[in-house]
Every structure is written in C-alpha cells, then in structure tokens.
Symmetry: C2
Subunit: 193 residues, 2 copies
Amino acid sequence: MIETSRRRDIEDAASSLFRERGYAATSVRDIARALDIQGPSLYAHVASKEDVLWAIVDRVACRFEEAARVSSDVDAAPPDRFAGLVRGHVGVVVSDVGQASVFVHEWRHLSGPRRQAVLLRRDAYEALFRDVIRDGIADGSFVMTDPSLAATFVLTALNGITGWYRPDGHVGPTQLGDVYADLAVRSLTEASR
Amino acid sequence: MIETSRRRDIEDAASSLFRERGYAATSVRDIARALDIQGPSLYAHVASKEDVLWAIVDRVACRFEEAARVSSDVDAAPPDRFAGLVRGHVGVVVSDVGQASVFVHEWRHLSGPRRQAVLLRRDAYEALFRDVIRDGIADGSFVMTDPSLAATFVLTALNGITGWYRPDGHVGPTQLGDVYADLAVRSLTEASR
C-alpha cells in the first residue's frame, strides 16, 4: 500500500513537471526535488524517467479505453453512440487534466516497444470513433465525410481541453461533456437547410 | 538582406528544436549547433532564446490576423464568414506546421509584456470567431450554444492540425480547409432532424 501511494505521488509530481516544462526538460532530480526526497531514493521506486512517463501514459490510456467500453451500446443509434464516446473522453480528460495533458503531448518521448504499443492503442481507440462515424454514414444519420478526418477533428478538439480547462473554472465537467457532445454530433449531421 | 535571411534560418532551426524537444529543453547552443555556427555568433543576430521564440510567435500571430482580415466579408452570412475564418486558419497552420506548432504550444514560455501581448492578441483573434458565432445565433443561422465554448472547440481542433499534419501526407491543404470548414459550420448548425 505504501509502495502504491508513493508511486502515485511520484506520478503526480512528474505529471505536473512534464506538463509545465515538457518531458525532455525534466530530470529525475527535478521529480525527486518536487517530492522533497533524494534522487537515489526515487530510484528505489522507479527505474527511469521513462518508466514514470510510461506509468502515466498507460494509466490514462486505460481510462480512455474503459470510458469507451462503459459508453458502448451497440444497439444505440450512431449519433447516441458517438455522443457517448465524446462524453466519456471529456470525462477522462477533466478528471485529471494534468495526466491527460502528459498523455496527449508527451507520449512521443516513449521509445521502442512502449512507443509502438501506445501508437497501436491510440489507433484502436481512434478506430472506435471512426467506426461509429462509418456506421452513421451507412445508416444515413451522418453526412458523407471522411471518417478519419472527422474523427481527428473531434478528438483533437477533445484533447485540446487539456490546454484550457480549469477544475475551478466556470464550466462544469458534465456541462462540458454535453456541449462538446452536441457540437461533435452536429458536426457530422446534415444541416436543416 | 543577409541579416534577414540569417534570422530566418535561426527561426527555422529554433522552430524545429522547440517543436521536437520543447522550448525549455532547447538551449541557444543547440540552435547554434543546428546551424553549424558558434553560440557567440548567434548572439550577433539574437539577444536571447526568448527573442527567437518571440519572433516566431509574433510572425505566426501576424499571419493568423492577416488571414482573418483577408477572409473577412461583413456582408456575407455568418456560416460563410465562419467557414472563411476556418479556411484561413487551416491555411496558416499547414503553410508552416513547425512554426504554427511553436505558436500553439510554446507561447506560454514568453514572459512579461510579450506574454501579455500574445494573450491579448489571442483573445482578440478568438473574439472574431466568437462574434461570428454570436451573429449566427442572432440571425438564426446557428443553434443556441455557448459562443465561447463553441469557438474553443473549433479552434482547438484547428490547432490540433499541428500534431498530425504532414505536407507529404494524403490530405492536401485545400481539401483539409474545406472538410474542416464543413465540420465546423455544421457543428453550429441545427440538424435536419
């Protein structure tokens, strides 16, 4: 338990620093200093800076995947399924904007198989959005459009939340999820004139 | 002329490094090394690393402002004006994705009056988007929605282009501007059912 909580502290401190300065400009010593411990003590918990980045990225990826599973209802109409995906994604981002920001901006600093694994998971996740768009085009709910470009348009807007959202700001998480789901679904739906 | 071209080289090299590693992890020496010159020679052209960042951010900001001016047609209907703003913004981003990426992600590292100036210019630019949305709501072209959230949704999607666009990719700049303008205008327009 102590080990788990210590690791969580390390990931939180690292998230703040990675987000503020970027992964490349943050050293293990910076992370240790933020936790008021010695660099060598930190190495008792993590093998490397990239290990910490990986832990954060993996955790956020799992949250996105879980949110998509929870929102998934194969019997629902494509616009409702798409709205569910958007609300789920927004929920994950606003639940921890710092970690989500590291996931969005810093995952590129992972190397080798980890980087490859994240690329594959990102693509599988984006495919959920593309597939619902395709289903919506097929059943006439959505306009003919490039499903890949449309999914990218929406997902970059959702990930952009990491750049401006404040938990103490004037927009609540549920309101944001609802407004963004409406904007996203409308962006794919034929206009009334 | 030589001075101007040298400064342009410096800004290009700095853009690549700022984009790749982040501003904080890039030193003046890194920029000099990328240009194969000595650090001290670089200081003959620029006073500081922040000076280079400022030059890039200011240049991109001017391009965005100019694109908005060019697309502006006060007599056009709000959906057409909004589409023009979107196409203009996409055009600036894809014309130099590296510099646009630095503008979007690294401007926060500016300090003092420069940071303040960029904040004011960003807000004035975003206000152009918000105002067209307000006009569209007022004349019934657009649905009732929060103009500020809607403008943020669209602008973050447009700025997200810096994260994935490749000049040699399968989507051309004009096609991207058109598809994104359609998505953005539809996101604000009442659906046909």
